[in-house]
Amino acid sequence: MSASELISLDAAELARRIHAREVSSAEVTRAHLERIEAVDGPAESGVHAFLHLDAEGALAAAEAADRAIADGAPASPLAGVPIALKDNLTTTDMPTTAASRILEGWRPPYDATVVARLRAAGLVPLGKTNLDEFAMGSSTENSAFGPSRNPWDLTRIPGGSGGGSSSAVAAGETPLALGSDTGGSIRQPGAVTGTVGVKPTYGTVSRYGLIAFSSSLDQIGPCARSVLDAALLHEVIGGQDGNDQTSVSAPLPPVVEAAQAGARGDLAGVRIGVVSEFSGEGYQPGVLGAFTDAVRVLGELGAEVVEVSCPSFGYALPAYYLIAPSEASSNLARFDAMRYGLRVGDDGGHAADEVMSLTREAGFGAEVKRRIMIGTHALSAGSYDALYGKAQKARTLIVRDFTAAFETCDVLISPTTPTTAFPIGERADDPLAMYLADLCTIPSNLAGNAALSVPCGRSADDGLPVGLQIMAPALADDRAYRVAAAYEVARGADTAPRIPELRALETTR
């Protein structure tokens, strides 16, 4: 089996072949490491999905998986399959930086719960992927180590904050990756890179070991090239964890079963609501065109598609840009040069307080500083009621809108993001324009319900990937998987290849 074939296979198919011993995990791992070698660098022009690669560790894990399989005891259905980890998840064997200078080179003394679960399940961590610094952004341009690039057009952004994980999956550097989604950081990169990205219900995947951005919104989830792959990974990482007291005791929804059921292509009896607020001005015609096609396909699958209005969703973006910075201003206070990470100005002359300020000034990028200051302002005694307090009330209204909509609909749908991937640099100096990329994804973070993005073909105007967002009630993630899997099958293969060739990169090396 050729390396180029291996890197284009889905995780489920790779797992089947590895477990049938048609190919070894070591071979599969090597194929992906070679692909990374070929297309990820150089940082200035390659995909640049990875901040850290652990080839040796990956091969050792792959060989361990092969031995377990040879002994007839694979650790899980995904044992032996490579995976990439967003670099805001702690790992004992690799540095964890959150793409920030302030944490450059930091070696955590503990694994995130999801990382420990991946290891226990026999998956093979390849390395750590790029992100907007501390997951604050929609393009990875805020990474202290340079942006990642969209494999379908290297001049464009791969989305963010989890652009590294999604571009790695899209480029065939890994079949699976983990991301974190605070306002859309898994779904929006999934949409613009033509991959699947899932934000599970808040509390169903442990956040222990996820470097917190906005604790009441953050949720870890899978990135993959197929709905079933995402579901398989979801089952590995999900479930209650004593290390995260916000993780829920309810059983994990049967997402793999739902993805398999959905793939049989029948949505009869399913009521799908189209959120009417997510259309119109600011939406790229090609995105709306692809979305309209998706609505038609869902109807053909037997679903009843209706329009629903969620009038308070208009408050989602402002509420998000108050709540997330507020929590971030507190979460990021710990980066103070005292116990770990960067220290600047410790020259005997400066006191601790000054060293803190100098370090934070030097170690944080502009977007992080902006959000810390906005959050500090929103929580200040003089503004709390008008800003943070009102944002919490907005959150209540958004929860109510969802509750009402889910009384009549099983799932809600919208475009994942209003536009396709925009050129790198286009919105870099306009934070407000950048924030619009998360317009459709933010409500589900505020309400905590499940939501995913599944590829929805290409935009007619620029040929770039478009994402379909499917939102389900809290703890009903399986519904979103079922609809997504049915749609995925019905839509059929793109005319574009499964993964981009990126031959230009290979020849420039």
Partner: protein
Amino acid sequence: MTVTVDAAPYTVEEVCERFDPVMGLEVHVELNTATKMFCGCANAFGAEPNTNICPVCLGLPGSLPRLNGTAVESAIKIGLALNCRVRERSGFARKNYFYPDMPKNFQISQYEDPIVFDGYLDVPLDDGTTWRVEIERAHMEEDTGKSLHIGGATGRIHGADHSLLDYNRAGVPLIEIVTRPIVGAGVRAPEVARAYVTALRDVLRGLGVSDVRMDQGSMRCDANVSLKPKGTSEFGTRTETKNVNSLRSVERAVRYEMGRHAGVLLSGGTVTQETRHFDEQSGTTSAGRPKETFADYRFFPEPDLPPLEPSRDWVETLRAGLPERPWERRARIQTEWGLSDEELRDLVNADALDLVADTVDAGAPPESARSWWVSYLAQQANTAGVTLPELAITPAQVARVVALVAEGTLTNKLARQVVDGVLAGEGEPDEVVAGRGLAVVSDESALTTAVDEALAAQPDIAEKIRAGKTKAAGAIVGAVMKATRGQADAARVQELVLERCR
């Protein structure tokens, strides 16, 4: 105009001719849970620096707090013991400020909704009356680490070159108990302050939720004092005195601040709202950090911890398990044991009340139990330089020794040797008796043999006894006692000597 007054020129009596003192007392208590508030690290005093730390209490990126259930129960118990209401729904908040001893640069605390609130404590005063101190709230929070300042003249913060941080204490569970303003105490304000902290300490000790050692910092008191000119209703500007590390200091600090405030006000100045530090040595306070403007802690709900909603059943179970209030228990014990006021006071002062009570519970008569603890054991503690509770003997062991004496196995003298053995780590009383061979020799044939041997060794004395000079028997008894190393019953030996010489 600000007038600096170093000495406190007015006595409490003088102050109260013109002013009414207003106090507020904030007491921080470290709970004696096995682990910290939000992680499984040991909650232990005096460990090697930075040995009881983990990703959570070190505030490492990605870590999350995990609330300690026992700490929550302790907080509820404290609230119930202070006649507080338990809030149906409470939660945690983040108090944001930067300080190197605080690993996350925010403290997880409770803000608008403390777990217990609206209570009171009826505090016994020296003259036998009680004073009701109203409790505003008691809430849970986490302690900070400790810093060591290097390079300064006295290890103080000023002039230090750098500091060294130990985070063992970071995350230790604290309960902060806040009173409502205490008004109307007048000249008794300093006494009320001390009596309140004393009563609170006794209640908490009775609950068993804290070591309440002010000397080790497991109980810390901040005293807020202000003066209100007589006849007005506006409270004056208050100061907050910290570092008050003993019960006596609470009283002294309040007295000093009352006098100092009066000095400032009567010389036409205004009291500055500030934190002051109490100096144990001089009994004075000195200005600390001025509270320039309102400190903006940017409190907001802690997103990493779900809310607390203690059920009625849970609260009632905890209420049912509350011990008697210490002073009520003392009154009951005094009656039951028939103690004089002085005897009771001696027991309390020697920290022996609980020990004696536990010894009685283990079966000893109150009089014997009390006698052991206040005399022989008190001497041993004194010699060893430890407190009675620290002595290496348990009330159950003392009770066993008392029982051995009562059943005739030990004489009082032997009993003291058994206690010495227990203190020396030789095991339980019965093991010491066996190990040292200390039981009274009650084997008649062995005793008879010893008597016969003594008589044979001193034939002239034996002759005198036979001749009816029974007083001479004393010498033979002495010899037998010596031969049996004091383990024989002297009265029985005397009888045997006379029998054998008949």
